[in-house]
Assembly symmetry: C2
Homo-oligomer: 275 residues x 2
């Protein structure tokens, strides 16, 4: 690797920027995010995320893979900065940091760039509040081969460190769209895209329901579920049956239960055609 001078001051502008990116405001204004750890940096690099600056703490970075990723990114034109262990630890989100982190550009698609194809799965989230839930939903979306997630109005930020950690790199495999409810509503109506919501009060059982070939799964907020206006926008609403005392599931769990059911329906349909 090309030798670079070692950053030993936490007052270095890039280090200050990396630290500031923990705050949503800074992320929103800059369009950047701070990612940390070998796995997520590799995922970001593999999925073509725009890595602006790679931060390496050579003494902490024991992994050969990490070094080769750094080499590769350097060749691709990314800025690679070596920092002292102390500086890296001052930034680190984890207690036992792996010595590799990056400042990346956030990647967002516009709603009018989204063109659903039959068989594709998209999830719209009305107001997911918990970054861990959002990250877990992204991870599950990747698991079922979904295309992306549309985040409405008051949803939390997928580039929040907790969301990124929970997504286990799936952040970089899913298309991300931000939209106001109004824009989403207009777009959905104009494009005639069926919207399938979930609610404990729905009549359709999510298991016996016949999902359309093309649709968006619409999930509400952790506490309140889908709002009234969101329910009105839905073409169909399905219910996950609850057997016990609880009246709802965790949001990431509910999303996963429906996504895997849809996935199984799709697999069954292909099996039936083949059979």
């Amino acid at each position: 690797m090309r030798p670079t001078s070692l950053i030993t001051s936490t007052a270095n502008p890039k280090i200050k920027l990396a630290r500031k990116l923990r705050e949503r405001k800074e992320r929103q204004e800059s369009g950047l995010a701070y990612i940390e750890g070998l796995r997520i940096v590799i995922e970001a690099a593999q999925h073509g995320a725009a890595i602006q600056t790679l931060l390496l703490a050579p003494h902490l970075l024991s992994s050969e893979k990490g070094r080769s990723i750094a080499e590769d990114l350097l060749n691709r034109g990314a800025e690679v900065l070596e920092v002292s262990d102390e500086v890296f630890k001052s930034l680190a989100l984890k207690d036992d940091p792996q010595g590799i982190a990056a400042i990346v550009s956030q990647s967002w698609q516009r709603l009018d760039e989204v063109h659903l194809q039959t068989g594709e799965v998209w999830v719209a989230l009305e107001a997911v509040a918990d970054p861990g839930n959002l990250g877990t939903i992204l991870r599950t979306c990747d698991g079922v081969g979904a295309k992306g997630v549309i985040l409405l109005d008051n949803s939390t930020d997928p580039y929040d460190p907790t969301a990124m950690r929970a997504s286990m790199g799936a952040l970089f495999t899913q298309k991300l769209v931000k939209s106001s409810f109004e824009t989403f509503s207009t777009w959905k109506t104009a494009q005639k895209i069926p919207l399938v919501g979930t609610s404990g009060a729905a009549k359709n059982d999510y298991h016996s329901f016949q999902y359309p070939g093309l649709f968006i799964l619409f999930m509400g907020n952790e506490r309140h579920g889908l709002s009234e206006k969101a329910m009105t926008l839905c073409d169909q609403v399905v219910r996950i049956p609850m057997h016990g005392q609880s009246d709802s599931l965790n949001l990431a769990v509910a999303t996963a239960v429906v996504l895997y059911e849809i996935y199984n329906h799709q697999r069954d349909a292909i099996g039936e055609k083949k059979g």
Copy 2:
């Protein structure tokens, strides 16, 4: 409600105990737990949890339901202590506490008290590490009407405040068993109880798999899945297919996806019998 004197000192022994119960060591030694918030106290009371001491901050407790629960518990012989807002806030796990909390006895079953009936669902967790995951799993278990959870060796504590919050009261609807791996292994073998594990490397697809009428679902650790010795103990292992880049799902999500699949199989079987 019977008037009681107001506790205004954080040095009061009961207040000190409540605070100490955040630590696992204290919970283990005392067999007690500290629960906070109207919903969980109500769930605990409704499911017959042994509430030793109810802590009320009258000015914070705006809910009529909370007052009537307090009244009821007082009549059942629980100690009811009124504390000042300041004392309550010094204990509170939340920023905006509801003014109601309790010290409860933990409730555990012994493994030799567990007698599985056909159609009952039990989950064994080898080494769940994250209390939020454990709480979420309990919530999902309640959702599908499962009977209980068997926690092996290195599992986290369901009475951890984060686990209890995530369980949304389901902690009190599920039977909880703690066991060493060896005891579990001996018991399972003697009782001839089929154990169905999950692994990304398994041949059986969890969706097409024919689940036995009576079995325990066995889930591994967040990072490592089921250990080798745990895999050896399994009679069958199923795989949740993964479509994207990720090689695994969040543990609470994976457990939920399989539990709801089992639930659907059971519902389908009943439907077929009826049909």
